[in-house]
Symmetry: C2
Subunit: 79 residues, 2 copies
């Protein structure tokens, strides 16, 4: 089973990487880009076969290691 | 219109970030994690209203700035 985790900054948290990308895009002549946010994507290959158990485990991984829940949100998709 | 771009390393390209996460998860006692890949997630807020035109523009942004197409793949989702 594969898990796909997206970690994004919470609203209101400064995102200098996103700002840098926005700036670079404008510099390259791309107009009409209002806001850019950069996040992380983590793909896990799990040996679990039960989706419920896998989701619980991945949630624990996010809380303990993969996301800083003070400033970041995470979303889990299982395939 | 929002665009969500995921940038991942191509197969065969070394992924030390992924390996570090895998190692840390094992260290925390999470068993059964076979492979970990870390990628980037970029969210753009575009003023375009035409999906076709937006996709073409975002593809150009990826080719020129957002992804290093020698070692990275990218996928674009529009909402």
């Amino acid at each position: 089973m594969k898990a796909r985790i997206t970690v994004t900054l919470k609203n209101g948290v400064l995102d200098p990487q996103g700002k840098a990308i926005e700036h670079a895009l404008t510099g390259l002549g791309f107009e009409g880009v209002d806001e850019v946010k950069q996040g992380k994507l983590i793909e896990l290959d799990l040996t679990d076969s039960d989706a419920e158990a896998a989701r619980a485990r991945v949630t624990e991984m996010c809380e303990k290691l993969l996301a800083n829940t003070v400033i970041e949100n995470y979303a889990i998709e299982l395939e």
